[in-house]
């Protein structure tokens, strides 16, 4: 019997529990459904919950813990001849080989008697474990059905109980999402703390030079490593600024056109088309930036007598701007649409033209939302990676010249973590500190954006 078979049996039992519960409730009511406190289905759900929740929880728990428990038991049972003088790392390699042997896959060492015995023992342990699990889980499931059925009584407030269970389940889902976020932030935070043990936060935040190559051996020269994040931040800001210069006007003006001027037919075509832009994978934008936009800008610049590097902030920023146009336009569209028609009527009723109405009534009323959508777009631009990896270059220049190559926080995180890593060098750990920095910036932007949006939301009510 495998886990999946057990899963199917438990599911079937849960279903059975539902029907048994419902039947029992109807029987208890003597066929008079109205004498039940809740509709019969709720009694069924209640029994199904009693049956399913503990049994599936057990199954999940065992799937999560199985390998640990079995390995601990296996390691304890290994003969000394195999484990003599082993450190934990080589012990885990040995266990791995035993797993492979047990599964009939090629192993990395010669098989001897002891190994074969251990593999057999491992298989035994797993089978016993699974059998025990099956017995316990089925017992719990059947017990759940019995207890649940026993509880059923016409006065039992089954609906309230089921709804509370659903409520809990929803709560657990949202809790899970939050916990995962917290976990991600924590992992960033702990690695960053290790990094700040090697490089002072002050140097990191205010240093003007970024060259993360550290010496691998003591006798290497010239690669002492400098971890000043300012050039990266400057590059990020420059590219985001260029992106917003493209996206803000085009996105906002297209939103105004779509909401205020476009005939319904045009809107029905243009709006989905605009949103297709949002569906293009960013790596495709990256091609476009690196292969089309950047050479074009370089050629134009050269013909004007400017020196433009072939990977320029301008190319990456402009293409990123195109990428976030649908973001800005769709958010602004919602906000402008949310301005009540009565505002427009009031303005028209006073003899204002359409453009006066838009400029003096609609946009001021929608302004907080528009600012909020812009800030969200900025945080999107700051976090964007693929386009800048492909089109902006790797040189950490501290410059405001959009024609030079710059690099961004996200690009550096990628380059630091691509390839073979040693997780005790400042170079690798720097990626986590950069990630934390980026997270803080976008979080702050999002908070400010939400505050602005919320603060003025009810202004025209």
């Amino acid at each position: 019997m495998s886990h999946s078979v057990l899963f199917l049996i438990l599911a079937a039992l849960t279903f059975a529990g539902f029907f048994m519960g419902r039947k029992r409730a109807v029987a208890q009511a003597g066929g008079v459904i109205r004498s039940l406190h809740s509709r019969p289905n709720y009694y069924g759900y209640l029994v199904a919950l009693w049956c399913g929740i503990p049994a599936f929880a057990l199954l999940l728990l065992w799937v999560g813990l199985e390998s640990n428990v079995v390995d601990t038991l296996l390691a304890a049972s290994l003969p000394d001849s195999l484990t003599a003088g082993m450190d934990p790392a080589s012990l885990s390699l040995l266990l791995n080989d035993i797993h492979n042997l047990a599964a009939g896959v090629a192993t990395s060492r010669d098989i001897n008697e002891a190994m074969a015995g251990a593999a057999d023992h491992y298989n035994d342990l797993r089978e016993t474990g699974l059998l025990a699990l099956a017995v316990v889980a089925l017992g719990v499931a059947i017990g759940g059905i019995l207890v649940g059925s026993k509880l059923i009584h016409p006065d039992l407030r089954a609906r309230a109980k089921v709804e509370r269970a659903i409520n809990r389940a929803l709560f657990i889902c949202s809790l899970l999402a939050i916990m995962i976020t917290v976990g991600i932030v924590m992992s960033l935070l702990f690695e960053s703390i290790r990094f700040f043990g090697k490089v002072s936060p002050f140097d990191f935040l205010f240093g003007l030079e970024w060259s993360p190559q550290t010496a691998l051996r003591a006798d290497q020269v010239g690669s002492s490593g400098a971890f000043g994040a300012l050039p990266l931040l400057a590059g990020t800001m420059l590219i985001s600024f260029i992106a917003m210069c493209v996206a803000a006007p085009i996105g906002l003006l297209s939103a105004i056109y779509l909401v205020e001027y476009a005939p319904r037919k045009v809107r029905a075509v243009v709006k989905p088309l605009l949103e297709i832009l949002a569906g293009i994978p960013t790596v495709v934008y990256g091609f476009f930036a690196a292969l089309t936009a950047a050479p074009f800008i370089r050629d134009v610049g050269t013909s004007l007598g400017l020196s433009v590097s072939s990977e320029s902030a301008l190319a990456a920023g402009a293409v990123m701007g195109i990428m976030i146009i649908p973001f800005v336009s769709s958010l602004s569209d919602d906000v402008i649409n949310a301005v009540p028609q009565s505002m427009r009527d009031g303005s028209y009723g006073l003899g204002a033209t359409q453009s006066e109405t838009i400029l003096r009534v609609v946009l001021p009323a929608a302004l907080p939302g528009i600012v909020g959508s812009m800030l969200l777009a900025v945080s999107r631009a700051i976090g964007e990676t693929m386009i800048v990896v492909m089109a902006a270059g790797l040189a950490a220049n501290l410059t405001a010249n959009p024609l030079e190559a710059v690099t961004t926080v996200t690009v550096q995180i990628v380059t630091l973590l691509v390839g073979d890593q040693e997780f005790d060098s400042a170079k690798t750990l720097a990626a986590f500190a950069l990630g934390l920095l980026l997270f803080c910036i976008t979080l702050a932007l999002n908070v400010v954006a939400l505050m602005i949006v919320n603060r003025y939301r009810e202004q025209y009510e």
């Binding site: 009540p340 009723g349 003899g351 202004q459 025209y460």
Partner: protein, 280 residues
């Protein structure tokens, strides 16, 4: 709102019937609006059928009728607010002081400056009280200096009976006022453009009885200077504030006449039925 002069319905009714029967108003003044054969369609659905209605200058004309009878549609035709509705078509003639307002030569901006409108639900802009009133004068360039604009704002608010309540907080948002105050702000906003006609689309239906009474008093004062057309669901209100009443039913103008006649002695059976509450 320390002192409030709320008149009972009877008092107002008797006042009105006095004015209605006085010789001055009996002699019909020159009509401001003349409409002939106005049909309105929303898409394929016809909302109004051949409306012929004259609106007398200076005075309150009430449009009454059951929901969906087309009275608001007709009101919105009078300053072309229906232009903003997709699929709305209008045929027939609406003359304002002899000029067809649906003529191609007519600029709808100028028309709406002459014919102001106050809506059912107060809709002050999310701006300061001052800016709300100054909005119209600014877009039409009515005033040439800041002090002139200040005077116009003050004057308009006084006319709308709101000045005393807001004089010391003109820079607070108009949306912070109470519903009745907001509606008077909207009236002040309409007055500030110096129209000749003010259309009111159920201006009191979102207000409590006290605020309603204030607006009704206000209409009594404003009708000296402006031609007022009001759509109302309340027959008592029509009787209190108007001199002439038009009864709409199912998109047709059933009957129009002096308010006192319509309510005491209607010609048409349908009017009689509506007024006595047999349908509606």
């Amino acid at each position: 709102m320390t002192q409030m002069n709320v008149k009972t319905d009877d008092e107002i009714l008797s006042e009105n019937s006095m004015t209605a029967s006085s010789p001055v108003t009996q002699e019909a003044p020159r009509p401001t609006f003349v409409t002939r054969g106005v049909d309105v369609f929303y898409g394929d659905k016809q909302a109004l059928f051949g409306i012929d209605l004259d609106v007398q200058a200076s005075g309150v004309t009430a449009l009454i009728g059951p929901s969906g009878c087309g009275k608001s549609t007709f009101l919105r035709c009078m300053n072309r607010m229906n232009d903003t509705i997709d699929g709305c078509r209008i045929s027939g003639q609406i003359l304002l002081d002899g000029e067809d307002i649906y003529d191609d030569q007519v600029d709808v901006v100028h028309l709406r400056a002459r014919v102001g409108i106050v809506f059912q639900k107060p809709n002050p802009f999310p701006k300061s009280i001052y800016d709300n009133v100054a909005y119209g004068p600014r877009i039409h360039g009515i005033t040439s200096s800041k002090s002139e604009l200040d005077d116009l704002v003050k004057h308009s608010l006084e006319k709308a009976g709101l000045w005393g309540e807001v004089a010391d907080r003109l820079d607070e948002p108009g949306t912070g006022l109470s519903g009745g105050q907001q509606q008077r702000l909207c009236i002040a906003r309409a007055i500030a453009v110096q129209p000749t006609v003010i259309l009111m689309d159920e201006p009191c239906s979102a207000l409590d009885p006290i605020a309603t009474a204030r607006i009704e008093d206000l209409m009594g004062e404003l009708r000296e200077q402006f031609t007022i057309v009001i759509v109302t669901h309340s027959m008592q209100q029509a009787a209190r504030v108007s001199q002439r009443t038009a009864f709409f039913h199912l998109g047709e103008l059933v009957e129009v006449g002096a308010t006192a006649d319509i309510f005491s002695n209607p010609v048409e059976q349908r009017t009689q039925d509506y007024i006595t509450g047999r349908f509606g």
